[in-house]
Protein backbone atom coordinates (compact mmCIF):
# COMPACT_ATOMS: atom_id res chain seq x y z
CA UNK A 1 0.00 0.00 0.00
CA UNK A 2 1.56 3.35 -1.03
CA UNK A 3 1.19 6.69 0.72
CA UNK A 4 -1.52 7.98 -1.65
CA UNK A 5 -3.73 5.01 -0.79
CA UNK A 6 -3.02 5.49 2.90
CA UNK A 7 -3.90 9.19 2.57
CA UNK A 8 -7.32 8.25 1.12
CA UNK A 9 -7.96 5.90 4.05
CA UNK A 10 -6.78 8.45 6.60
CA UNK A 11 -8.97 11.14 5.00
CA UNK A 12 -12.00 8.94 5.67
CA UNK A 13 -10.92 8.53 9.28
CA UNK A 14 -10.52 12.32 9.66
CA UNK A 15 -14.06 12.78 8.30
CA UNK A 16 -15.34 10.31 10.87
CA UNK A 17 -13.39 11.66 13.87
CA UNK A 18 -14.03 15.34 13.14
CA UNK A 19 -17.58 14.63 11.95
CA UNK A 20 -16.99 16.52 8.69
CA UNK A 21 -17.71 14.53 5.51
CA UNK A 22 -16.17 17.29 3.37
CA UNK A 23 -12.83 17.43 5.16
CA UNK A 24 -9.85 17.35 2.74
CA UNK A 25 -6.41 16.61 4.03
CA UNK A 26 -3.05 16.68 2.22
CA UNK A 27 0.43 15.64 3.25
CA UNK A 28 1.12 19.17 4.49
CA UNK A 29 -1.96 19.34 6.73
CA UNK A 30 -1.11 19.98 10.38
CA UNK A 31 -3.16 20.27 13.57
CA UNK A 32 -3.30 24.06 13.00
CA UNK A 33 -5.33 23.50 9.82
CA UNK A 34 -8.09 21.35 11.32
CA UNK A 35 -10.59 22.76 13.78
CA UNK A 36 -10.72 20.84 17.08
CA UNK A 37 -7.56 18.82 16.34
CA UNK A 38 -6.50 18.90 19.97
CA UNK A 39 -4.73 16.28 22.07
CA UNK A 40 -7.95 14.40 22.82
CA UNK A 41 -9.01 14.18 19.17
CA UNK A 42 -5.42 13.37 18.21
CA UNK A 43 -5.52 10.29 20.44
CA UNK A 44 -8.95 9.32 19.10
CA UNK A 45 -7.43 9.60 15.59
CA UNK A 46 -4.49 7.41 16.60
CA UNK A 47 -6.73 4.70 18.06
CA UNK A 48 -9.09 4.79 15.05
CA UNK A 49 -6.18 4.55 12.57
CA UNK A 50 -4.67 1.66 14.55
CA UNK A 51 -7.97 -0.22 14.48
CA UNK A 52 -8.55 0.53 10.78
CA UNK A 53 -5.13 -0.78 9.70
CA UNK A 54 -4.82 -3.34 12.48
CA UNK A 55 -1.49 -1.92 13.70
CA UNK A 56 -0.16 -0.55 17.01
CA UNK A 57 2.00 2.59 16.96
CA UNK A 58 4.79 3.44 19.34
CA UNK A 59 3.12 6.28 21.23
CA UNK A 60 6.37 8.24 21.60
CA UNK A 61 6.82 8.12 17.84
CA UNK A 62 3.27 9.30 17.18
CA UNK A 63 3.72 12.30 19.45
CA UNK A 64 6.61 13.55 17.32
CA UNK A 65 4.69 13.54 14.01
CA UNK A 66 4.52 17.01 12.45
CA UNK A 67 1.96 16.62 9.67
CA UNK A 68 -0.24 14.15 7.77
CA UNK A 69 2.69 13.14 5.55
CA UNK A 70 4.60 11.96 8.64
CA UNK A 71 1.47 10.11 9.75
CA UNK A 72 1.16 8.31 6.38
CA UNK A 73 4.85 7.34 6.50
CA UNK A 74 4.37 6.00 10.00
CA UNK A 75 1.34 3.92 8.96
CA UNK A 76 3.28 2.61 5.92
CA UNK A 77 6.16 1.63 8.20
CA UNK A 78 3.94 -0.36 10.58
CA UNK A 79 2.06 -1.99 7.68
CA UNK A 80 5.35 -3.26 6.26
CA UNK A 81 6.46 -4.80 9.57
Amino acid sequence: MDNSEILIGINKIFSQVFKDPDIKITGDTTSDDIKNWDSLNNMILVVTIEDFYNIRFDLNEVQKLKNVDDLCNCVAKYLSL
Binding site: D38, S39, L40, M43, I44, L59
Partner: protein, 357 residues
Protein backbone atom coordinates in the same frame (compact mmCIF):
# COMPACT_ATOMS: atom_id res chain seq x y z
CA UNK B 1 -5.59 -29.14 57.60
CA UNK B 2 -3.81 -25.81 57.93
CA UNK B 3 -4.55 -22.32 56.57
CA UNK B 4 -1.64 -21.36 54.35
CA UNK B 5 -2.80 -17.90 53.45
CA UNK B 6 -5.65 -15.45 53.97
CA UNK B 7 -6.51 -13.26 50.99
CA UNK B 8 -7.50 -9.71 51.87
CA UNK B 9 -8.79 -6.79 49.81
CA UNK B 10 -5.71 -4.69 48.95
CA UNK B 11 -5.36 -1.09 50.02
CA UNK B 12 -6.79 1.38 47.54
CA UNK B 13 -6.15 5.11 47.67
CA UNK B 14 -9.56 6.18 46.51
CA UNK B 15 -11.99 3.66 47.94
CA UNK B 16 -12.84 2.23 51.31
CA UNK B 17 -15.10 -0.44 49.83
CA UNK B 18 -15.00 -2.57 46.70
CA UNK B 19 -17.45 -4.98 45.09
CA UNK B 20 -16.87 -8.69 44.44
CA UNK B 21 -17.60 -9.26 40.76
CA UNK B 22 -16.75 -12.88 40.13
CA UNK B 23 -15.29 -15.90 41.91
CA UNK B 24 -13.13 -17.81 39.44
CA UNK B 25 -13.16 -21.16 41.29
CA UNK B 26 -15.48 -23.16 43.54
CA UNK B 27 -14.85 -23.88 47.20
CA UNK B 28 -12.30 -26.69 47.65
CA UNK B 29 -10.90 -26.24 44.12
CA UNK B 30 -7.16 -26.59 43.91
CA UNK B 31 -5.43 -23.34 42.91
CA UNK B 32 -1.86 -22.54 42.00
CA UNK B 33 0.19 -19.53 43.03
CA UNK B 34 -0.62 -16.47 40.82
CA UNK B 35 -3.91 -17.95 39.59
CA UNK B 36 -6.58 -15.27 39.31
CA UNK B 37 -9.02 -16.31 42.03
CA UNK B 38 -11.55 -13.46 41.93
CA UNK B 39 -12.39 -10.17 40.21
CA UNK B 40 -13.19 -7.11 42.28
CA UNK B 41 -14.30 -3.66 41.17
CA UNK B 42 -13.21 -0.34 42.63
CA UNK B 43 -14.70 3.04 41.66
CA UNK B 44 -12.06 3.27 38.97
CA UNK B 45 -11.32 -0.14 37.57
CA UNK B 46 -11.59 -3.91 37.86
CA UNK B 47 -8.78 -5.80 39.58
CA UNK B 48 -7.92 -9.50 39.66
CA UNK B 49 -6.85 -10.98 42.98
CA UNK B 50 -4.22 -13.67 42.68
CA UNK B 51 -3.57 -16.72 44.83
CA UNK B 52 -0.44 -16.03 46.91
CA UNK B 53 0.32 -19.75 47.16
CA UNK B 54 -0.72 -23.23 45.95
CA UNK B 55 -3.54 -24.94 47.84
CA UNK B 56 -7.27 -25.52 48.27
CA UNK B 57 -9.49 -22.44 48.25
CA UNK B 58 -12.37 -21.44 50.49
CA UNK B 59 -14.32 -18.30 49.59
CA UNK B 60 -15.78 -16.16 52.37
CA UNK B 61 -17.77 -13.85 50.06
CA UNK B 62 -20.20 -14.04 47.15
CA UNK B 63 -20.43 -12.11 43.87
CA UNK B 64 -22.15 -8.76 44.46
CA UNK B 65 -20.94 -8.47 48.07
CA UNK B 66 -19.56 -5.08 49.12
CA UNK B 67 -16.43 -5.57 51.19
CA UNK B 68 -14.06 -3.21 52.95
CA UNK B 69 -10.34 -2.76 52.39
CA UNK B 70 -8.38 -5.30 54.44
CA UNK B 71 -11.30 -7.72 54.77
CA UNK B 72 -10.42 -11.41 54.44
CA UNK B 73 -12.30 -12.71 51.38
CA UNK B 74 -10.78 -16.15 50.92
CA UNK B 75 -8.47 -18.66 52.56
CA UNK B 76 -6.08 -21.17 51.07
CA UNK B 77 -5.55 -24.49 52.88
CA UNK B 78 -2.81 -27.06 52.57
CA UNK B 79 -5.25 -29.94 51.97
CA UNK B 80 -8.71 -30.99 50.84
CA UNK B 81 -11.46 -29.04 52.66
CA UNK B 82 -14.55 -30.91 51.45
CA UNK B 83 -15.72 -31.50 55.07
CA UNK B 84 -15.54 -27.80 55.80
CA UNK B 85 -17.38 -26.92 52.56
CA UNK B 86 -20.15 -29.47 53.23
CA UNK B 87 -20.74 -28.20 56.75
CA UNK B 88 -20.90 -24.64 55.36
CA UNK B 89 -23.61 -25.63 52.82
CA UNK B 90 -25.57 -27.45 55.56
CA UNK B 91 -25.50 -24.50 57.91
CA UNK B 92 -26.61 -22.05 55.19
CA UNK B 93 -29.56 -24.34 54.32
CA UNK B 94 -30.53 -24.47 57.98
CA UNK B 95 -30.31 -20.69 58.22
CA UNK B 96 -32.61 -20.24 55.21
CA UNK B 97 -35.15 -22.62 56.72
CA UNK B 98 -34.96 -20.76 60.01
CA UNK B 99 -35.58 -17.46 58.25
CA UNK B 100 -38.73 -18.86 56.63
CA UNK B 101 -39.97 -20.04 59.98
CA UNK B 102 -39.39 -16.64 61.47
CA UNK B 103 -41.31 -14.87 58.69
CA UNK B 104 -44.36 -13.12 60.11
CA UNK B 105 -46.34 -13.75 56.90
CA UNK B 106 -48.89 -16.53 56.86
CA UNK B 107 -50.69 -17.57 53.68
CA UNK B 108 -53.61 -19.92 53.06
CA UNK B 109 -52.94 -22.99 50.90
CA UNK B 110 -54.74 -21.39 47.93
CA UNK B 111 -52.85 -18.15 48.40
CA UNK B 112 -49.52 -20.01 48.72
CA UNK B 113 -50.22 -21.89 45.45
CA UNK B 114 -50.97 -18.62 43.67
CA UNK B 115 -47.86 -16.97 45.12
CA UNK B 116 -45.71 -19.84 43.87
CA UNK B 117 -47.44 -19.93 40.48
CA UNK B 118 -46.70 -16.23 39.88
CA UNK B 119 -43.30 -16.23 41.58
CA UNK B 120 -44.30 -13.40 43.92
CA UNK B 121 -42.09 -12.32 46.81
CA UNK B 122 -44.39 -12.89 49.77
CA UNK B 123 -42.89 -9.93 51.64
CA UNK B 124 -44.24 -7.53 48.98
CA UNK B 125 -47.84 -8.38 49.90
CA UNK B 126 -48.81 -5.92 52.63
CA UNK B 127 -51.03 -8.24 54.80
CA UNK B 128 -49.59 -10.51 57.46
CA UNK B 129 -52.34 -13.11 57.01
CA UNK B 130 -52.63 -13.60 53.25
CA UNK B 131 -55.71 -14.99 51.55
CA UNK B 132 -56.28 -15.83 47.86
CA UNK B 133 -58.12 -12.50 47.35
CA UNK B 134 -55.10 -10.58 48.65
CA UNK B 135 -52.85 -12.27 46.12
CA UNK B 136 -55.37 -11.62 43.31
CA UNK B 137 -55.47 -7.97 44.31
CA UNK B 138 -51.66 -7.79 44.40
CA UNK B 139 -51.39 -9.36 40.93
CA UNK B 140 -54.00 -6.96 39.50
CA UNK B 141 -52.24 -4.00 41.10
CA UNK B 142 -48.87 -5.04 39.69
CA UNK B 143 -50.32 -5.57 36.24
CA UNK B 144 -52.08 -2.21 36.11
CA UNK B 145 -49.12 -0.31 37.48
CA UNK B 146 -46.92 -2.15 34.98
CA UNK B 147 -49.04 -0.94 32.07
CA UNK B 148 -49.29 2.63 33.23
CA UNK B 149 -47.54 5.11 30.95
CA UNK B 150 -47.12 7.52 33.85
CA UNK B 151 -45.15 5.09 35.98
CA UNK B 152 -41.57 6.35 36.27
CA UNK B 153 -39.06 3.83 35.03
CA UNK B 154 -35.76 3.26 36.78
CA UNK B 155 -32.42 1.79 35.86
CA UNK B 156 -30.13 0.38 38.51
CA UNK B 157 -26.81 2.21 38.66
CA UNK B 158 -23.67 0.28 37.89
CA UNK B 159 -21.52 -1.10 40.68
CA UNK B 160 -18.64 1.21 39.81
CA UNK B 161 -21.03 4.18 39.90
CA UNK B 162 -22.17 3.08 43.35
CA UNK B 163 -18.59 3.05 44.63
CA UNK B 164 -17.86 6.35 42.86
CA UNK B 165 -20.78 7.93 44.71
CA UNK B 166 -19.43 6.66 48.01
CA UNK B 167 -15.93 7.92 47.22
CA UNK B 168 -17.16 11.39 46.22
CA UNK B 169 -19.59 11.61 49.12
CA UNK B 170 -16.71 11.40 51.60
CA UNK B 171 -15.53 15.01 51.63
CA UNK B 172 -18.71 16.54 50.22
CA UNK B 173 -20.96 15.06 52.93
CA UNK B 174 -19.09 17.01 55.60
CA UNK B 175 -20.61 20.22 54.22
CA UNK B 176 -17.18 21.82 54.64
CA UNK B 177 -16.44 22.38 50.98
CA UNK B 178 -16.05 25.88 49.52
CA UNK B 179 -15.49 26.84 45.91
CA UNK B 180 -13.75 29.92 44.53
CA UNK B 181 -13.50 31.06 40.92
CA UNK B 182 -11.04 33.07 38.84
CA UNK B 183 -10.98 33.99 35.16
CA UNK B 184 -7.91 33.42 33.02
CA UNK B 185 -7.36 35.91 30.20
CA UNK B 186 -6.41 34.63 26.76
CA UNK B 187 -4.73 36.62 23.99
CA UNK B 188 -7.49 38.38 22.05
CA UNK B 189 -5.29 38.66 18.94
CA UNK B 190 -5.38 34.89 18.50
CA UNK B 191 -7.79 33.18 16.09
CA UNK B 192 -10.80 31.40 17.64
CA UNK B 193 -9.17 28.02 16.94
CA UNK B 194 -5.99 29.08 18.69
CA UNK B 195 -7.93 30.48 21.65
CA UNK B 196 -9.78 27.22 22.14
CA UNK B 197 -6.74 24.97 21.86
CA UNK B 198 -6.28 22.78 24.95
CA UNK B 199 -4.64 24.50 27.90
CA UNK B 200 -4.70 21.33 29.98
CA UNK B 201 -0.96 20.50 29.78
CA UNK B 202 -0.05 24.06 30.79
CA UNK B 203 -2.65 24.16 33.58
CA UNK B 204 -1.46 20.77 34.89
CA UNK B 205 2.18 21.84 34.82
CA UNK B 206 1.50 25.17 36.54
CA UNK B 207 -0.76 23.45 39.06
CA UNK B 208 2.08 21.13 40.07
CA UNK B 209 4.32 24.17 40.66
CA UNK B 210 1.67 25.86 42.78
CA UNK B 211 1.16 22.68 44.84
CA UNK B 212 4.86 22.78 45.76
CA UNK B 213 4.31 26.26 47.23
CA UNK B 214 0.95 25.41 48.85
CA UNK B 215 1.33 21.89 50.32
CA UNK B 216 -1.99 22.23 52.18
CA UNK B 217 -3.74 21.93 48.82
CA UNK B 218 -1.93 18.59 48.40
CA UNK B 219 -3.17 17.11 51.68
CA UNK B 220 -6.30 15.54 53.15
CA UNK B 221 -8.29 15.41 56.37
CA UNK B 222 -8.36 12.23 58.46
CA UNK B 223 -9.53 11.76 62.07
CA UNK B 224 -8.88 15.37 63.09
CA UNK B 225 -5.47 15.34 61.45
CA UNK B 226 -4.25 16.91 58.24
CA UNK B 227 -2.18 14.43 56.29
CA UNK B 228 0.19 15.93 53.77
CA UNK B 229 0.97 13.86 50.67
CA UNK B 230 4.70 13.45 50.12
CA UNK B 231 4.40 13.33 46.34
CA UNK B 232 2.61 15.61 43.91
CA UNK B 233 0.61 13.29 41.66
CA UNK B 234 -1.99 15.19 39.68
CA UNK B 235 -5.00 13.15 38.58
CA UNK B 236 -6.94 14.03 35.45
CA UNK B 237 -10.63 13.20 35.42
CA UNK B 238 -11.28 11.55 32.04
CA UNK B 239 -14.79 10.80 30.83
CA UNK B 240 -14.76 10.19 27.09
CA UNK B 241 -16.74 7.06 26.24
CA UNK B 242 -15.96 4.60 28.99
CA UNK B 243 -17.05 6.12 32.30
CA UNK B 244 -15.31 8.53 34.64
CA UNK B 245 -11.73 7.60 35.47
CA UNK B 246 -9.00 9.61 37.19
CA UNK B 247 -5.65 9.09 35.46
CA UNK B 248 -2.63 9.82 37.65
CA UNK B 249 0.53 11.58 36.48
CA UNK B 250 3.15 10.53 39.06
CA UNK B 251 5.59 13.22 40.24
CA UNK B 252 3.92 15.81 38.05
CA UNK B 253 6.09 18.55 39.56
CA UNK B 254 9.24 16.86 38.28
CA UNK B 255 8.12 16.88 34.64
CA UNK B 256 8.56 19.68 32.10
CA UNK B 257 5.62 20.91 30.01
CA UNK B 258 6.35 18.56 27.07
CA UNK B 259 6.58 15.58 29.41
CA UNK B 260 3.29 16.52 31.06
CA UNK B 261 1.66 16.76 27.62
CA UNK B 262 3.11 13.36 26.70
CA UNK B 263 1.74 11.84 29.90
CA UNK B 264 -1.71 13.33 29.26
CA UNK B 265 -1.71 11.88 25.73
CA UNK B 266 -0.62 8.51 27.10
CA UNK B 267 -3.45 8.61 29.64
CA UNK B 268 -6.04 9.46 26.98
CA UNK B 269 -4.69 6.68 24.75
CA UNK B 270 -4.81 4.10 27.54
CA UNK B 271 -8.32 5.27 28.50
CA UNK B 272 -9.54 4.86 24.91
CA UNK B 273 -7.88 1.42 24.70
CA UNK B 274 -9.26 0.47 28.13
CA UNK B 275 -5.69 -0.27 29.20
CA UNK B 276 -5.49 1.89 32.32
CA UNK B 277 -3.99 -0.17 35.13
CA UNK B 278 -4.79 0.17 38.86
CA UNK B 279 -1.41 1.93 39.14
CA UNK B 280 -2.51 4.53 36.55
CA UNK B 281 -5.69 5.09 38.51
CA UNK B 282 -4.45 5.33 42.06
CA UNK B 283 -2.29 7.58 44.21
CA UNK B 284 -3.45 10.91 42.78
CA UNK B 285 -3.11 13.66 45.36
CA UNK B 286 -4.99 16.48 43.58
CA UNK B 287 -7.43 16.31 40.67
CA UNK B 288 -8.16 18.43 37.61
CA UNK B 289 -11.51 18.12 35.86
CA UNK B 290 -11.51 19.70 32.38
CA UNK B 291 -14.95 20.28 30.87
CA UNK B 292 -13.75 22.96 28.42
CA UNK B 293 -14.58 20.92 25.33
CA UNK B 294 -18.25 20.78 26.36
CA UNK B 295 -18.71 24.55 26.36
CA UNK B 296 -19.15 24.72 30.15
CA UNK B 297 -18.98 28.31 31.46
CA UNK B 298 -18.37 27.56 35.13
CA UNK B 299 -18.88 24.55 37.43
CA UNK B 300 -18.23 23.20 40.91
CA UNK B 301 -16.25 19.94 40.78
CA UNK B 302 -16.43 17.32 43.55
CA UNK B 303 -13.39 16.58 45.71
CA UNK B 304 -12.08 13.01 45.66
CA UNK B 305 -11.41 10.90 48.71
CA UNK B 306 -8.09 11.61 50.44
CA UNK B 307 -7.67 14.94 48.68
CA UNK B 308 -8.14 18.53 49.81
CA UNK B 309 -9.09 20.17 46.54
CA UNK B 310 -10.02 19.82 42.89
CA UNK B 311 -9.62 22.25 40.00
CA UNK B 312 -12.32 22.68 37.37
CA UNK B 313 -11.45 23.99 33.90
CA UNK B 314 -14.22 25.58 31.82
CA UNK B 315 -14.46 26.57 28.16
CA UNK B 316 -13.00 29.71 26.61
CA UNK B 317 -15.50 32.54 26.22
CA UNK B 318 -14.59 33.84 22.76
CA UNK B 319 -16.35 37.18 23.29
CA UNK B 320 -14.74 37.94 26.62
CA UNK B 321 -11.42 36.23 25.74
CA UNK B 322 -11.17 34.30 28.96
CA UNK B 323 -11.96 31.01 30.63
CA UNK B 324 -12.90 30.12 34.17
CA UNK B 325 -11.03 28.07 36.74
CA UNK B 326 -12.94 26.83 39.78
CA UNK B 327 -11.24 25.50 42.89
CA UNK B 328 -13.30 23.44 45.34
CA UNK B 329 -11.44 22.88 48.60
CA UNK B 330 -11.97 21.12 51.93
CA UNK B 331 -12.38 23.83 54.54
CA UNK B 332 -11.22 21.42 57.26
CA UNK B 333 -7.78 21.34 55.63
CA UNK B 334 -7.33 24.89 54.47
CA UNK B 335 -9.20 28.16 54.16
CA UNK B 336 -10.34 30.68 51.58
CA UNK B 337 -7.27 32.90 51.85
CA UNK B 338 -4.81 30.07 51.12
CA UNK B 339 -7.02 28.68 48.35
CA UNK B 340 -7.24 32.16 46.78
CA UNK B 341 -3.46 32.60 46.92
CA UNK B 342 -3.01 29.18 45.32
CA UNK B 343 -5.46 30.01 42.53
CA UNK B 344 -3.87 33.46 42.02
CA UNK B 345 -0.45 31.86 41.59
CA UNK B 346 -1.91 29.39 39.13
CA UNK B 347 -3.62 32.19 37.19
CA UNK B 348 -0.38 34.17 36.96
CA UNK B 349 1.62 31.14 35.84
CA UNK B 350 -0.87 30.31 33.09
CA UNK B 351 -1.31 33.88 31.89
CA UNK B 352 2.45 34.50 31.71
CA UNK B 353 2.65 31.66 29.18
CA UNK B 354 -0.46 32.32 27.12
CA UNK B 355 -0.27 36.12 27.07
CA UNK B 356 3.47 36.36 26.42
CA UNK B 357 3.00 37.06 22.73
Amino acid sequence: MKVLSEITIPKDDADEEVIIIELNYKDNDQVKKSDSIMDIETSKTSIELEAPTDGYIEYLVNPGDEVVIGQVVAKIYDGDISDLVNSKVESSTQEAAKENQLSSKVATKEAQALIEEHGIDINLIPNDFIKKEDVDLFIKGSASSGNSDDKPSGTAISRSKKIEIKALSGVQSTGMVSTIFMNIDVDESLSDDEKTSSYLPLITSECAKALEVFPMMNSYFLDNHIIQHKLINIGLALDINNGLKVYTIPDTNKLNLDEVEGKINEGIYKYLRNELTPRDLSTSTFTISDLSQYGVEKFVPLINLKQAAILGVSAVDLKLNRFNLSLAFDHRVTEGRVASEFLSMLKKGIEVSILKN
